[in-house]
């Protein structure tokens, strides 16, 4: 099972990442463009109601759909926690500047109107967050069926913001994206991390000598020939930024680029190599010496999917028998034959290693219904290990923990689900109930 563990989670994140990365490209294009319409002005007289705001020491969050208030407090809390960690790194003189505006757009249309990007582009790239005019803009997670990791996304955007605070110009797109990816997991995830699908793609490209050179990385990422090549650009940007971070500190490069008004000079200062040498060494040493983690999941993505979506390609190959058993399991589940339903799903899992987390959740639910709680919990633990962004699995875990009287762990699991899909049916109500019993619970993971 762990072979395919991160396949789905990485693929699921792919479009979101593309969206996040796309943001920096857009912001660079818009840097010299006319100022965008303000959030307050656009939503003045909106049928959704008045613009509402909440602020913390360094951020002010605005929203217009009353439902989006649900994430306002937790968003501020998460950003403040990230700020406490990032501030010393970016050496930001935050005491003297205005609070960072964070805007939650109620729908894609208004997001498109204010950002002046066409709806088609949003849909094509899956963009859900942007940093434009030093405003952090995110699409409300209400708009996505399975939500998205909005807390990580907003920190990613904040890193772009901080880079631009240091140097408005002179920072190329690869450096922007690389640095934002390194720090997006703050305050909880501080290590650089590539998903198995990204490692797989990198491995495949490396073996086929299709890695992108430094000059190519300077060109806009989303306009690469294929989505696969665009993603490769993001991966290489992260790997290079990480290499620079270890070499001399990536923030030092950014500061130097701002000071020297040239990234090439800053890179020479850091590496001691000329521009030409760096270009050669980028391919021959830096990328060549990257250690690719071994693992079946990486191997899986290193296969040739002829440019298609790996999950889709693999899904089509999925054994019909496996799908048949899953279907029989669903029929049995609907008729309340939970034990038999679980048996049929177990058969499905034996037939094929590729199956969506919803199957595993159904199996866990079936076991829970027949009183095999430990088995159910173990399956759900496996699901969140394989798919950490599966809000529904976190939600089921939380429910089980709550039933067992484990209120604190239940709250943490609820929070994890909340930070992915806060509008999941029933989640907010159960969190409210638990919080009424334990007023000290907050939106911290630990």
């Amino acid at each position: 099972m762990s072979t395919i563990s991160k396949i789905f989670c990485s693929v699921k994140n792919f479009s979101i990442l593309i969206g996040i990365f796309f943001s920096i490209f857009i912001f660079s294009l818009n840097a010299s463009a006319a100022r965008l319409e303000s959030f307050d002005n656009y939503f003045k007289g909106s049928s959704l109601g008045p613009v509402q705001k909440k602020e913390s020491a360094h951020f002010v969050v605005s929203w217009v759909n009353p439902k989006d208030e649900l994430i306002a407090d937790s968003l501020l809390q998460h950003l403040e926690a990230a700020h406490q960690e990032l501030n010393p790194i970016f050496k930001d003189s935050s005491e003297t500047r205005a609070k960072v505006p964070v805007e939650i757009f109620p729908d894609l249309k208004s997001f498109s109107d204010v950002s002046k990007l066409s709806m088609a582009r949003f849909k094509a790239t899956g963009t859900i967050a942007l940093t434009l005019d030093q405003r952090l803009m995110i699409l409300s997670p209400r708009n996505l069926v399975t939500g998205y990791n909005w807390a990580v996304t907003v920190v990613h955007e904040y890193v772009h913001y901080l880079i631009r605070e240091i140097s408005m110009d002179h920072i190329p797109i690869w450096l922007h994206e690389g640095v934002a990816q390194i720090f997006q997991g703050y305050p909880y995830q501080k290590e650089m991390k590539l998903s198995p699908s990204q490692w797989g793609l990198f491995k495949k490209s490396k073996e086929k000598n299709k890695l992108l050179d430094l000059d190519t990385l300077k060109e806009p990422f989303p306009t690469r020939k294929t989505p696969e090549e665009a993603e490769l650009a993001y991966i290489e940007a992260l790997l290079f930024a990480d290499w620079l971070n270890k070499k001399c500190g990536v923030l030092k490069v950014i500061h130097s680029a701002g000071r020297l008004k040239s990234v090439e000079k800053a890179l020479s200062e850091c590496t001691g190599w000329s521009n030409e040498v760096l270009k050669k060494k980028f391919m021959q040493e830096i990328l060549a010496n990257v250690t690719i983690p071994a693992g079946k999941d990486v191997e899986f993505f290193a296969r040739d999917f002829s440019g298609g979506d790996p999950l889709e390609v693999e899904g089509k190959k999925a054994d019909k028998k496996s799908r048949d058993f899953a279907q029989l399991s669903t029929e049995l589940f609907k008729q309340g034959r939970y034990r038999s339903s679980a048996t049929e799903l177990e058969k499905a899992f034996k037939e094929s290693p590729v199956h969506p987390p919803s199957w595993q959740r159904q199996l866990a639910s079936a076991y829970e219904k027949v009183g095999e709680k430990k088995k159910s919990a173990s399956i759900l633990d496996q699901v969140v290990r394989d798919y950490p962004d599966d809000a529904a699995a976190w939600y089921l875990i939380a429910q089980q923990q709550y039933k067992n009287g484990e209120q604190k762990p239940a709250w943490i699991s609820f929070v994890k689900a909340f930070f992915i899909n806060p509008f999941l049916d029933g989640l907010a109500e159960e969190m409210r109930t638990l919080r009424e019993k334990n007023p000290s619970f907050n939106y911290s993971f630990f």
């Binding site: 058993f325 899953a326 038999s340 919803s358 089921l396």
Partner: protein, 830 residues
């Protein structure tokens, strides 16, 4: 003071005027009442209406003249009243003067001074006098009240007018008490409809309400007028003066008499029958039998034969055959009539009827009222309804089988027979299906599997058998689910077809709009849009309802809804076009409409492609392999037939050798016997080859059908049993050939050939079923027509119906026709 007195002068005049008016009215009423009562008195003697009218009118004119003259004189005198008269009236009424009686007359003097009617010799005195009374004015300045006569006269007006009205409205000619002999012989009656004629009837007055009756006025005495005295139920006697005829419009039953002012005849009953609502019996023909007021289920039929018989006590004016479905109630056919009975047979087309409960009934009208007949309820099943029913049946049956699977899995895990398994089979019911359908084949297979599991559970609970039974049950359920999927895709196909036709309609309308023959805001276009919108919604719903595997229900429902809403883009566009057209932007609307039609065209093509893809997915080449299998069976059959001929020849040869040997009393020539044995060995080899070919064909077919949704029907137990039988016969044939038993071999071969033919036939039938299932939505007429009575008819009801029908068939004398019809109507309504 002058102004005060002048104001009171007008008030005084007003009171006086009202008094005068009251007296004028009194005079008028007195004279007219005299005229009225005089007229009544004289009417009892002479029948000369113009004189009475003239007399009454003269009385009215005289009354008015007298009143006006009186008023003229009174008003003239009122206008002559002066302020001094008013002052006198004030002195009479005002309490101030009662308290100061010595000052009476002083106000009048002052008023006279103001009228300048006194001489000018004492101007100073006059001035001083006026000044004094001006100062005293506030002490007595009150409104002049009406005199007592005023109240009297108003009361008089009220009384006289009330009395007059009461007398006019309540006066009845008193019924004389003296009796004189008179007997009614005959009368004439005219029914209440336009153009009705007078009919003579014998006896006392009788008839249908609202009819007019009359009889020749009997002359009792010279100089005395004849009256028709009528008392309707719970009413007072009313006298109707007769002229040439005594006439009456029948309203209510009661009694009547004829006579003069001073004597009358005995009382006779007045028979009035209330006007009955028209009646009808509507019948539908089911299996050569006419059924009234029933509920029938109609499957796939194009028309129904109806018959109705309607009647009314007066006259039928109109009959409407109406069709009611959901909120619509429309007239299918209309008859304008002038008869009291009407019978008709008609054919009602059911083309275009939607599935559901329909009502067909008659609405009948006579001259005064209308009524509805008892309806025929038609549960009409169109292709969609049939499909829906099939799906429901299939779903219910599958749910039961899912429990069977659950029981089997539980049994396997516990190694103990699940409690409810046997009971489940005992209670299990299977839906009735049309012949030669995939469902029939499927149900047959399920029944067979059910029997197998039931027998296993009853007699030999060997749990190792579950390893075979569970997969078989799983396959059966999966095949059922795929059948459901096919039905659903059929639904989508039907929806796509109707969408296609709507698009064509819109295209035609667009052409008309371009040519200026149609307006963008026209009702037809609006209707077409509505139809299109509902079809789009229906199709989206059906696509969403396609059976799927495990579904993720832990989602953000709002986002899910938004995604669904986004697919309603076409519906939004329709709304936009309507708005544009409503705002007068015809150019923009036309452009949008063209674009919408293009989009619809793309959607239709995509839909067709998707449906083809679904069908291909279901098939997975199984149909081609089935055809290959049929062809192979045919080849095997030919080979077997060839071998049979050869065996026949061998048999003849063997018989000939045997015959020759017996004939010549010599043993069989060993060379010839050896040659014959060799030929038998050769034939046996051929038989083995054919057997091998059959085995290979079966194996290949099994392999090809594996994984296909049609596996369950193509490789059914029945088919496999048949194949086993063929193999057995071939083996027996081969063994017989080995022993040179030609006759025995031939028997087995003949059986094998017959079985091969049956197998091909059965296979072809299955293939036809599969093909027709794939296009079931486009061939609704292929289904058998059916009309069934749905109501749970008990024996007694059946007999009653039979009796009514027999009664209807009877021919009776015209005189009894009416009562005869009443009889069967009563029976029907009982």
């Amino acid at each position: 003071m002058l102004s005060f007195l002048k104001r009171e002068l007008w008030r005084f005049r007003f009171y006086k005027s009202l008094e005068s008016l009251a007296f004028a009215v009194l005079i008028f009423f007195a004279v007219t009442q005299f005229g009225f009562f005089s007229k009544l008195f004289f009417q009892a003697f002479i029948d000369f209406n113009p004189f009475f009218i003239l007399f009454r009118n003269t009385c009215v004119v005289v009354g008015m003249g007298l009143s006006l003259t009186f008023l003229y004189f009174k008003i003239s005198s009122i206008l002559k009243i002066k302020i001094s008269d008013v002052a006198s009236e004030i002195e009479k009424q005002n309490i101030y003067f009662k308290e100061h009686p010595n000052r009476r007359g002083e106000l009048r003097t002052a008023a006279l001074m103001l009228e300048n009617s006194l001489d000018n010799s004492s101007e100073d005195f006059q001035e001083a006098h006026l000044n004094i009374w001006n100062r005293r004015l506030p002490k007595f300045q009150r409104f002049l009240l009406p005199r007592r006569e005023f109240y009297f006269s108003i009361a008089l007006i009220f009384l006289t007018s009330s009395l007059s009205i009461f007398l006019h409205s309540h006066y009845v000619r008193t019924l004389p008490t003296n009796i004189q002999p008179w007997t009614p012989t005959q009368f004439e009656i005219r029914l209440p409809f336009e153009g009705a004629i007078w009919n003579t009837q014998p006896g006392a007055l009788s008839g249908i309400a609202s009819s007019e009756v009359r009889f020749k006025t009997p002359k009792f005495s010279w100089g005395l007028r004849t009256f028709l005295y009528v008392q309707e139920l719970n009413q007072k006697w009313v006298a109707y003066p007769c002229k040439e005829f005594c006439e009456l419009t029948l309203k209510e039953r009661g009694q009547y008499a004829v006579g003069t002012q001073f004597f009358r005849s005995s009382f006779f009953p007045l028979q009035v029958v209330p006007d009955e609502a028209p009646k009808a019996v509507l019948m539908v023909k089911v299996d050569s039998e006419w059924l009234p007021a029933t509920t029938i289920e109609v499957l796939n039929k194009k028309e129904l034969l109806f018959q109705f018989s309607a009647s009314d006590d007066i006259r039928l004016t109109q009959i409407e055959l109406r069709h009611r479905f959901q909120d619509t109630d429309e007239v299918v056919q209309k008859w304008s009539l002038h008869e009291d009975h009407f019978k008709q047979e008609l054919t009602l087309s059911l083309e275009g009827w939607k599935g559901g409960a329909h009502e067909v009934y008659l609405k009948l009208f006579d001259a005064t009222q209308s009524a509805n007949s008892a309806p025929i309820y038609i549960l009409f099943a169109d292709e969609n309804t049939l499909r829906e029913k099939r799906l429901q049946d299939l779903r219910a049956m599958l749910d039961e089988w899912v429990h069977v699977l659950g029981d089997l899995i539980d049994t396997d895990q516990d190694q103990k027979l699940a409690g409810g398994l046997l009971k489940r089979f005992q209670e299990m019911t299977y839906p009735e299906q049309e012949e030669n359908s995939l469902m029939t084949a499927y149900i047959k297979e399920l029944k067979s599997l059910g029997h197998r599991i039931e027998n296993w559970a009853k007699f030999s609970p060997d749990f190792s058998e579950l390893k075979k039974l569970i997969p078989k049950t799983e396959k059966a359920i999966l095949y059922g689910l795929s059948l459901m999927f096919q039905e659903k895709t059929g639904e989508i196909q039907a929806a796509a077809d109707s969408l296609h036709s709507s698009r064509d309609d819109l295209n035609k309308m667009l052409e008309k709009i371009r040519e200026g023959k149609m307006d963008l805001n026209s009702k037809d276009l609006d209707e077409a849009f509505k139809k299109l919108a509902s079809q789009l919604e229906e199709m989206q719903k059906k696509i969403r309802e396609l059976p799927q595997g495990p579904q993720d229900d832990l989602l953000n429902r709002e986002a899910l809804q938004n995604e669904a809403d986004e697919s309603d883009n076409l519906l939004k566009r329709i709304e936009d076009i309507k708005k544009q057209a409503a705002n007068g932007d015809n150019k923009g609307a036309l452009k949008e409409l063209e674009s919408l039609l293009n989009q619809l065209s793309i959607l239709s093509k995509e839909m067709e492609r998707s449906l083809d893809q679904w069908k291909n997915n279901l098939d997975k080449g199984a149909l081609q392999s089935a055809e290959r299998y049929s062809k192979s069976l045919k080849d095997i059959q030919k080979q077997q037939e060839e071998l049979a001929k050869k065996t026949d020849r061998l048999k003849e040869k063997a018989e000939k050798l045997e015959g020759d040997s017996q004939k010549n009393w010599q043993p069989i020539d060993p060379d010839k016997a050896k040659a014959l044995k060799k030929e038998f060995a050769q034939a046996q080899k051929e038989q083995q080859k054919i057997s091998e070919k059959l085995k290979q064909t079966i194996d290949q077919y099994d392999k090809d059908a594996e994984g296909s949704e049609w596996q369950q029907v193509l490789r059914s137990n029945e088919a496999k049993q048949s194949e086993e039988q063929i193999s057995d016969r071939m083996k027996s044939s081969s063994d017989a050939l080995n022993e040179a038993k030609a006759f025995e071999s031939m028997t087995n071969q003949a059986e094998a050939i017959e079985l091969l033919k049956n197998a091909q036939k059965s296979q072809q039938q299955t293939l036809d079923n599969i093909k027709s299932a794939g296009s079931s939505s486009s061939k609704p007429t292929a289904r058998a027509e059916k009309v069934e009575i749905v109501g749970n008819e008990k024996q007694g009801e059946k007999e009653r119906r039979r009796k009514i029908m027999d009664s209807l068939k009877q021919k009776v004398d015209d005189r009894y026709q009416k009562s005869h019809e009443h009889y069967f109507e009563d029976l029907l309504q009982r």
